[in-house]
Structure formats: C-alpha cells, structure tokens
C-alpha cells in the first residue's frame, strides 16, 4: 500500500496542490480517452488537434492572465470587452489607415497596456474593488467597441491573420512531416530531460530524498512519449499545417509565466498579496504596484487574445469577446485556484482550460448541440470545484488511496493505518 503512495508521491510530488493537479490531469486524460473511443479516433487526429489548439489558444492566454489576477485576490470581468475593443481598433487602424500589420500588433499591445493602466489605477491606487472596476470596464469597452466599429465587421490583412490562423512554413527536406514542428518537439524533449536533471541536482543540493532512478526514468518516458506523440500529430497534419502559430505564442507565454509565478520575486509577491495582503504589505511588498501590474498584465494579454481571435476570424466583429471572461475564469477555477486568492498555478489553469476545450470539442464532434454543451460545461465547473472543496473538508486527498480502498480489506496487513491520515497524524502531533 505504502509503496503505491510512494509511487504517487514520486511521480507527481507529494503536496496537496500536486495531488490536485494529478486529479485534473487524470480528468483530462480520461476525457481524451473517452472521446477518442467515442468519436472513433477523431479526437486525436492531426486535423482536430490543430483545430482545437487554434480554437482555444486565445481563451488559454486569457486564463494565464486571469490566474494571476485571481491569485492576487481579484477578478477581471472586462477581458472579453477589452479584447473586442483592441480587435476593432487594430483592424480599423490597419484597414482605414493602412498601418502595417506588425505595427498593428504593437498598437494592440499598447492599447491593452493603456486599458490595463486605467483599470489598474482604479484598483490599486483608488482601491475600488476589481469586480466593480472591471464590470464597468466590461460595459465601457463593449460600448467603445461598438462606437468605433459601428457594429461593422472589419476585415484584417493577410499578414496579420498569421497570428491567429497561421502555421509554421515548410522548410528543409521532405520528411513527411512539418520539419519546424519536429524541431520544436525535439527541443521540448531536451527541455524536459534538462529540467528533470536540474531538479534532481537541486534536490541533491538540498540533501532531500531523491526519487529512485527508475521513477525519474518512467516519469521522463511518460512525458517524452506525450511530447513525441503530440509532435508527430502536429507535424503530421495536412501539408501547409503545423503546430499553429497561436499555439506557439501560447506555449511561450505559458512557459514564461509559469517561470515568473513560480521562481521569481515578482511571482512570490502575487501569491503573498493574494494569500494575505496586510501581511504582505508588512513584509515590504509594494501592494499597489503588484495589484496594478496584475491588472495591467491581464489587459495586455486580453488585447493579445483579442488580436489572435480577430486574426483567426479574418475580421473584427461586434460579437468578439462575448463571455470570454467566463470561459477564462472557469478554466482557472477548474484548474484549482482558490476563489479567495493566494492559490493556483499557471499549469493548473491551462489543464483546466484544456479540460473545457476538449470537452467542448469532443461533444461537438459527437454532434451534441451547443445547448447541451453549455449544460455539461456548467456541471463540470461545479463538480470540479465542489470536489476540491469536499477534499479540503475531508483532509488530504489521495486518488490512488481512494481507488485502492476496496482492496485494502483483503490486505493481510490490514491493520496498517491508511496512508494519508497516517501522515496527518505526524502533523497533528507537531501542532500539539
């Protein structure tokens, strides 16, 4: 029994948040497997994976920013409107003032930054709750979008469309795959090996227990297998397709922001502010600056997401951004963030977002209507968070422990204390 818990601990890390992520990842895998079978293998075809990535990358980008906002103890309801507003401004600038598209992107990011500064100012320096500021922003920028766009649909130039609908070019010898995607996959494999090695080194320096080598090996093998599989799928689509450019933007952002939130002083400060703002302030954290930065960052990412959507749709329309904020917020909460702030990870939010995306996609492939899809998504959100709350009230969570409970009675050593509570006991004693 304890060997199984050890294994779980070694493979996924022992802490509660990791257990939570383990839960989410298994849900994701379950959804993929379920739909893969249900749709006769359509879910994991190259074409579908590519479509899913380009369809949901902008929501996932929003989820990254939203995670930070929620961790800091706020919420941003305005992202959809900000995205739509940026979209129309950029589209108009390019169409009517023939702004070259790279400058268009720059303009969009600047618009996002300006809006973010506006919202951040009210939240951080005046102290208006973010819920109110962004609710106002939601109306304000939706209105601004209609004012500028006259509710028209404004097409964007071909070059600009690349960031939403573009693919990596085909270069090099004909390998039957998109070569650049293969290279990216190779880099990713090297990356995970390097990271694992680095992690072992760190643990050795800390004099912490090292996981047995075979465990590391298995974990690496699993990760590499996933990467290789994904690479071949994304590289093996129709000629002219590859990992979508929007997907590459997303991956770059996820890597950068996970690093930032986990390993830097700035990231720590966001968690500190969300966990206990007053304590953070008394520890020298510049509360206002953190709040400002988080809100501003969100709007910049919303602007980027808006532009990617417009690029993918080839035009900016009056319906852009409608209820995106809800999708992004749902992804973050499914990914294990706490409503009260201070908890949550970028990778968790991405997994949460992917759960929603694949659910959506799988149901659509099955021809389930959008009304039912909404109902199912709503239930998933509720259950995911309820599950979390329930686990918290029940102490620690152990999926494997739960799964193996029925067998434990037959265990000859049935007197052994159940694993999770046993470790709790140590703590209780310490707390005594």
């Amino acid at each position: 029994m304890s060997r199984i818990t050890d294994l779980q601990k070694n493979l996924f890390g022992g802490t509660t948040s990791n257990a939570r992520q383990f839960g989410m990842i298994s849900t994701l895998v379950a959804i993929v497997v379920l739909f893969q079978i249900w749709t006769d293998g359509l879910t994991l075809t190259s074409g579908n994976l590519i479509a899913v990535v380009s369809q949901y990358s902008y929501i996932l980008i929003l989820a990254v920013g939203m995670l930070m906002v929620i961790v800091a103890g706020h919420i941003d309801l305005s992202v959809g409107s900000v995205a739509a507003f940026t979209g129309i401004v950029v589209a108009k600038a390019m169409q009517e003032h023939s702004l070259p598209w790279p400058l268009g992107i720059l303009l969009g990011l600047l618009v996002g930054a300006a809006i973010g500064a506006w919202q951040g100012f009210w939240v951080a320096y005046i102290g208006v709750p973010a819920f109110i500021v962004t609710l106002a922003g939601m109306m304000l920028f939706r209105g601004a979008n209609q004012y500028i766009g006259n509710a028209d649909t404004v097409p964007v130039p071909e070059g600009f469309r690349k960031i939403g609908a573009g693919f990596l070019p085909e270069v090099g010898p004909d390998t039957g795959y998109n070569n650049l995607t293969l290279l990216l996959g190779l880099a990713a494999c090297a990356g995970v090996v390097w990271r694992e090695w680095k992690a072992r080194q760190t643990r050795r320096e800390m004099n912490a227990d090292l996981a047995p080598l075979w465990v590391t090996g298995v974990r690496l093998a699993v990760m590499i297998a996933v990467i290789v599989f994904a690479t071949l799928r994304f590289a093996g689509g129709r000629v002219g397709t590859s990992l979508p450019i929007s997907g590459i933007i997303l991956i770059a952002l996820v890597l950068a922001y996970s690093h930032y939130t986990r390993n830097t002083i700035g990231g720590r400060h966001i968690y500190a502010v969300g966990g206990n703002a007053r304590a953070a302030e008394l520890s020298g954290v510049k509360l206002k600056r953190v709040n400002f930065a988080v809100m501003m960052n969100m709007s910049v990412l919303a602007a980027l997401a808006g532009m990617i959507f417009v690029a993918r749709s080839a035009a900016s329309g009056p319906q852009d951004g409608l209820s995106w904020e809800l999708d992004a917020i749902a992804a973050v909460f499914i990914g294990g963030a706490a409503v009260s702030g201070g908890l949550g990870t970028v990778s968790g939010s991405i997994v949460g977002g992917l759960v929603m995306a694949l659910l959506n996609n799988g149901l659509q492939l099955q021809g389930v209507g959008s009304d039912m899809v909404q109902i199912i998504k709503g239930l998933v959100l509720l259950l995911a968070v309820a599950f979390d709350v329930y686990n918290k009230s029940q102490g620690r969570f152990s999926i494997i422990g739960t799964l193996t409970r029925p067998f434990r009675r037959e265990d000859p050593a049935g007197t052994a204390a159940p694993p999770a509570p046993a470790s709790d006991a140590d703590k209780t004693k310490v707390a005594g």
Partner: protein, 516 residues
C-alpha cells in the same frame, strides 16, 4: 459553594481519537455544582477537544466514555442539544456580528417572537436585564463594532444568560482583554459563583487561575494529570506549571547578563493621526531611545497606542504621520514605506500572527524568506537551494517543530508559528526588532524559548523593543520599560525599579511627565 456540593458534571474515561492520533486518552473531569473549575494545560494538551466533546461539537458516538450531567447520563449530538441542557461555551473568537446591535446579537437565532415577527420591545427589555446581570452599561442599540473587546466579551456572556445557562464554559476569556477588563471579568465569575452558576475556565494566565479558581484540572498530552483543590492543596503558579510541563521550570526567564551599548536608535516627537478620525491622535509627541544590546519594553493598556506607534514607525503602516523624526546611529532616516524600514534595519513582528503576520497558505520556508526575497534571488529569480538551506538553518537553530520546511505554516502550533515569524524577521538581518505581544497565546514551554531567542538577538548587539500586556513578562525580560497611555509616553522605568504597581500607575494615570 460548599465543599460537599454534588458534582454537576462528570466526564468519565473520555477517549477521542482522530485518524492516526489520540487527542484524549481516558480523560476524566469532575465539576462540582457552583464552583469555578479551571482547566490548564499546554497548547495541544486536549483542553479544547474535551470541551468540544462536552458541548456536542464532537457528537455522541464519535468518542468513548460517559458524560453524566446533573445526575443523568447525557448524549449530546449537537451544540444545540448541549445548549438546551444549559451548557454554554464561549469561544476565544467571539461569535458576534459586528454590524448588529447588542440586542440583536443577544437574541440572534433565539429571537423573541410575537405573531410571527420579532418582538423588539420585549427583546429590548430582556436585553437590559441581561446586560445588568453581567454589569454591562451600554445603550442596547449600540453596534457591536463600536464597543471594546472587553464589553464584547460581556455581551457573549449575557448571550449565554439569555439561553438560561447552568454551566458556563469560557475558553481563554481574558486573552484579548486588558488588565482592567480582565479584572472585571474575574469579578463577574466570582459573582456567578455566589449565584450558584458553575463555570469552567480554560486559561493560560496562571495568576488569574490562582486568583479565581476553586479546583484545577491539569491535562497533558491528552491525559488527566491531576485535579487540585486550590485552597486545600495550597496551589500556586509554580505548582501549576510543574503539572503542565511535567517538570520544574527553574525560572520563567532564561538567564542573561545584559551588555548594553550606545544609543543607536532614537525617535523624537512622533505624532500620528488616527487613519479615519481627524480629531484623534494615536501618538502624541512620543520620544524614546534604544541602545544596542538592550531589551526595551512598552507597557500600556489595550488601545493605549503601542501597536499604533510601532506600526507607524514601520513604514507608516498605520495612521497619518504628522511630525517627528527617527535617528539611527545619529543620522536621521526616513521610513516612508515598509521597504524603507526593512532597508534601514527595522523589523516589526506583529501582534496578530494569523491575520497580519503570516500568509497562512504559505509553507514554512516560503514564510521565512518572505520579507527579504532579494537575499535568496539572483537577478530576481529565486534560488530554491538557498531558500531551503536557510529555512533548514532556522528550523534547527530556533528548534521549530515541523516535519519539514515544506509543511504549511497553518499546521504548526502557535508557538512554532511565532518562531517562524521570528525567523522571517531575523532573516532580514535587522538592527532593531519590534516584537508586538510576542508570546500571546503561546504555551509556557514555547514562551521560555522565545525569551531565549530574544536574548540571543540582543547579545548580538541588536536592539529589541517588546510590546506586551503582561507586566510580569516585561518586568522579567526588559532592561527598561516605557509606559504608554492614550498615545503618549508617560514614563520610563529602569529594570531595577520595575514593579507592577509602579507600571500600572503610569499606564493608567496620565502623569504629566513627557520624557525628554
């Protein structure tokens, strides 16, 4: 109370286990009718669990053993059931709604009704009666948030009377009260005794227990150690401490030979306005000095302005700064933000660990380095190895009891949490540490250790300011004590002259002697 009074309550062989841990093992408790019964024990000894068993928080069936109350075996399965039997527990964290009036709070969940709607007239009348019983003189329409903690406590007790209490259980009733309010509360308990109401009191304040209790039951590690009759056994504080920790504590304070150096930190004419009220000054021209290697105490009643003074110095974290200067090593320094203060070698360990001292979501190591992340970062990226090593070092040197530095701080006991907070501020390498109530809610053993840490800090030539509401602590620990009253420093007492009476006088009567 008569010595032969029958037992109102008997708890026999109570055993309560949580998965993997035994919180109570064969605990027995006998409370005679009409007495004040104190339950003592270190944190985690099982006092609260025992009271939870009694009040039905842990329902019948989740523990083994019997409870006999008023001669009958009882099985409470909820708080409601125990309250109906007249057992009312008043927790340390008061269960009052701040935005409601005294009357509304008194009858919350128990509102007198007439024809379906609340009968406010009779509620008001009853409220006045109840308030009279506990000696609370306030307009019953006053909002809870507008009265002090002491009076709030009285409201809680009055609430118990509204439920027709037979057995009143008070968990650390004076922990948040100042000297005068505590005294009032103890008098009140004595008064209840006269009227035949039985009380059980859980407290860390041994002097209070000694003063008021008839019987003392001591718990340790989930077992009953002994039951003492205060009068018959001639109980004093040392006797109780011995029972609680299982050994004699030679001294409540570790030995120390002060090595006091030059004045290095000085505050002149510090004046701060209340954050919301324009009229009120929370610091009125306060001036004080700290020498290297010196422990300076700040004595004062609750709300005298000690915390406000400390926090306003610490990067203007409280109120509106009006005037005053701060000098360190003879040079004036400006402390406009917390970062400035930390940069100039100040550290402030707050009074309230849980609400403003720690991020309870953090683990031990993250908490320890939180106030000076730059020390473990290279180009703003945190070095996990260094973080881990530093945390391990503190864990060993401060003897923090935790299975690992990756443990969440929320799982640590109060004493260990306080050590984590101390580590956090020691890590900033301060010259002056301001410790606000550093031992509140901490058991005897941990207190001793924290005094030891403070003494080690001053031995390194740092200055330490201790704010405390416990005079014995200040007298035992400090080289010099300033007294504070209504925002002004009213006196300065050297170690040799410090005794509770002198301090109390200066803390309560505004002697016109502003120190130079």
């Amino acid at each position: 109370m008569t010595p032969t009074a029958p037992n109102l309550l008997e708890m026999r062989s109570i055993t309560k286990t949580f998965p993997g841990v035994t919180a109570l093992a064969d605990v027995s408790l006998a409370v005679r009718e009409g007495e004040i019964h104190a339950i003592c024990g270190e944190n985690g000894a099982g006092k609260s669990t025992l009271m939870k068993v009694l009040s039905g928080v842990h329902p019948h069936g989740s523990y083994s053993g019997d409870i006999v109350y008023r001669g009958e075996q009882v099985r409470f399965d909820s708080i409601r059931a125990s309250e109906q039997a007249g057992i009312v527990i008043i927790h340390q964290e008061l269960a009052l709604v701040p935005g409601m009036s005294i009357t509304e709070n008194l009858f919350l969940g128990n509102e007198p009704r007439r024809r379906g709607s609340i009968d406010w007239k009779s509620a008001q009348r009853r409220a006045l009666e109840l308030m009279e019983q506990v000696g609370l003189r306030e307009d019953p329409d006053t909002l809870i948030k507008d009265i002090g903690v002491g009076k709030q406590q009285l409201v809680e007790i009055a609430k118990a009377f509204a439920k027709d209490v037979k057995l009143l259980i008070l968990d650390e009733p004076t922990a948040a009260l100042n000297e005068a309010d505590s005294q009032h509360l103890l008098d009140l308990l004595r008064g209840f005794r006269e009227r035949g109401i039985t009380s059980i009191m859980i407290s860390h304040k041994l002097n209070e227990i000694e003063a008021v209790a008839d019987t003392i039951t001591i718990l340790r590690d989930g077992r009953t150690i002994e039951s003492l009759d205060v009068k018959a056994d001639g109980v004093n504080e040392d006797r109780i401490v011995r029972g609680m920790v299982g050994r004699e504590l030679d001294s409540r304070f570790p030995d120390r030979t002060p090595a006091i150096g030059e004045v290095f930190f000085e505050v002149r004419d510090w004046t701060v306005r209340h954050p919301t009220s324009d009229e009120r000054m929370v610091c009125k021209g306060s001036s004080f000095q700290v020498r290297r290697g010196e422990i300076v105490g700040f004595a004062g009643l609750m709300g005298a302005g000690r915390t406000e003074l400390a926090m306003s110095l610490f990067g203007r974290s409280y109120g509106t700064w009006l005037s005053g200067q701060v000098f360190k090593d003879g040079k004036e320094i400006r402390l406009k933000t917390v970062a400035d203060a930390i940069g100039h070698g100040l550290a402030y360990v707050s009074e309230d660990r849980k609400s403003i001292g720690l991020n309870l979501l953090d683990d031990v190591k993250t908490s320890m380095v939180a106030a000076k992340l730059s020390k473990i970062a290279r180009r703003r990226v945190i070095d996990p190895v260094r973080e881990h090593r530093i945390a391990e070092d503190y864990r060993t040197s401060l003897r923090i009891k935790t299975p690992s530095v990756d443990e969440g701080v929320v799982k640590l006991s109060g004493g260990n949490q306080q050590k984590v907070v101390l580590a956090k501020w020691m890590f900033t390498d301060p010259d002056l540490l301001i410790l606000d109530e550093p031992t509140r809610g901490i058991d005897v053993g941990a207190k001793f250790e924290i005094y030891g840490i403070i003494q080690r800090l001053v031995a390194q030539g740092k200055g330490v300011v201790v704010i405390s509401s416990e005079l014995p602590e200040l007298i035992g620990l400090c080289d010099r004590i300033y007294t504070v009253f209504e925002g002004a420093i009213t006196g300065e007492v050297a170690r040799a002259d410090a005794d509770p009476e002198v301090l109390m006088k200066q803390m309560t009567a505004n002697k016109k002697s502003p120190t130079p």
